[in-house]
């Protein structure tokens, strides 16, 4: 595709087993800067495993993942922390620190940016006014600035996910990895979260990789779709090439055609 730009992530025959069960079966793909990539597949197809390998929360069994020029397998200690600072994670269960206030949760994203004595001040949850200003701006971007003093566990699911997005905005990563970002949300909140991610990706030129189990979301938001079946990459292309036959290939005998072919996804929601 954009072969002039060097890929931000390249996977080379990535394989991973859990005990004897094959989770990833020699997956090779490259992801270019600024792309919005959806990983689709059935539960257990290896979507989350692949994402966790990209985040270096897991190490690959064989093959290699390069992040820029860096081989993820070589990372340890400080270099690993610096890599993680470049990668923002969004989780299905949001994973906010539930007993902390919204502001403190967003300031978590600023932790890797603290240097010198401020690193130690941050252990006591003290941040410079400029850092708090950044956090507030991130909250304003997701429309949550009026909840800044509320405890995270008092928010609804959609609100928590928006705070989680503010947290990675504050983190200022190069890549966002989102693990089923909308699976725990209703359709409206899910769209709001996906719209925000999309806006970040195109506005700030960030790369987004999201696992999704709804084809509709992938069709509506992704520049490129990776289809996994039983750990193997069976589709790699733009969403327009996702034919019904292709969906059967990815999802098996029962593709979920929630939206008739040709219809705009979420047209029912847009009307509401």
């Amino acid at each position: 595709m954009r072969s002039i730009v060097s890929p931000v992530i390249s996977m080379d025959r990535v394989a991973k087993n859990f005990l004897s069960k094959r989770a990833l079966d020699h997956v090779s793909a490259t992801i270019h800067p600024g792309q919005f990539v959806a990983i689709i597949g059935r539960s257990g197809a290896g979507k989350t495993t692949l994402l966790r390998c990209l985040a270096r929360a897991l190490t690959v069994g064989s093959g290699a993942i390069h992040f820029g020029d860096v081989d993820l397998a070589t990372l340890a200690g400080r270099a690993l922390r610096e890599h993680r600072a470049q990668v923002g994670m969004i989780y299905q269960q949001f994973n906010l620190v539930r007993r902390l206030r919204v502001l403190d949760n967003v300031l978590v994203g600023r932790l890797p940016h603290q240097t010198g004595w401020r690193r130690w001040a941050a252990v006591a949850r003290w941040f410079a006014p400029a850092e708090r200003a950044i956090a507030l701006r991130c909250l304003a971007h997701v429309g949550m600035v009026d909840r800044v003093w509320q405890r995270a566990d008092t928010l609804s699911g959609g609100e928590q996910q928006r705070v989680a997005i503010a947290r990675i905005l504050a983190q200022d990563p190069r890549v966002i990895l989102a693990d089923e970002p909308v699976a725990s949300l209703d359709v409206l909140n899910g769209r709001m979260v996906m719209d925000t991610l999309r806006r970040i990706a195109s506005g700030a030129g960030l790369t987004v990789v999201a696992t999704l189990h709804h084809v509709d979301y992938a069709r509506a938001y992704a520049d490129r779709v990776l289809g996994l079946r039983a750990g193997a990459l069976v589709f790699n292309g733009p969403p327009s090439e996702l034919s019904d036959a292709m969906l059967v290939d990815i999802f098996g005998e029962y593709p979920p055609p929630l939206v008739a072919a040709g219809a705009a996804p979420f047209s029912d929601v847009a009307a509401a």
Partner: protein, 274 residues
Amino acid sequence: MSLATGALAGLGAGPVPAAPPHASPLRRNLLALLGAAILFAVAARIIELRPLELIRDAGNIGQFLKGYLRPSFANVPEYAWQCVVTVCIALWGTLLAVTVSVPLGLLGARNLAPHPIVYMAARRVMDVLRAVNEFVFALMFVTAVGLGPFAGMLALGLHTGGVLGKLLSETVEAIDPGQLEAVTAVGASRAHAIAFGVVPQVMPNFLSYILLRFESDIRSASVIGMVGGGGIGFYLWDTIRAFNDREAATVILLIVAMVMCVDVVSSRVRRAAI
């Protein structure tokens, strides 16, 4: 089977399917009950359990207690002061315990320990601290720092440090791993990950354990004077051993009052803090 109405009517008719084989727990439970009965019977013989004598000679206790009915008020100021000393021993003992327990508890939690060997070492240190009674520690420290409250405070602090460390490590192991993972995933250092991913999750429980152990330390501090650890315990030991019943009664009353006051205060603190 044909009696089924409502939703049950929709179920398929025909023979009831056989459940998978499953061992009956009755036999096992009876065996366990028998085993426990034997264990307790043997233990009763060993400790010379004779309930009949307790009933027959209960009058002797009354005789003994009669001396306690008229407490003496001659030395109340001194006893009251020693109660203050006792509370102070417990305060500093608990503070020392918290200081000891935080590093041990964090290193002794499986999900935070940097290495299995560190985890094992921290666990064993906590085991030793818990296994050695505070009285034994007190006897040890008396040889180092002499008789007095300082030795008692050190003894309480070490023993309670082991207990609190164990409780903390178990609380840390029960945290929601997702919250910690999210903090780690932003590239936070270990200290940051603990401050943001662990501390908020364990703080309410840990505070509650600290207060609970403080109340328990008050009771321990009130007797640690028996072995030279300072506080009201010395007078408790001295008056009882000298059959000075009226003085002993005063001391016991003061200890009871002190424990009740501390429990009231600490339950207030608990409600305010948690």
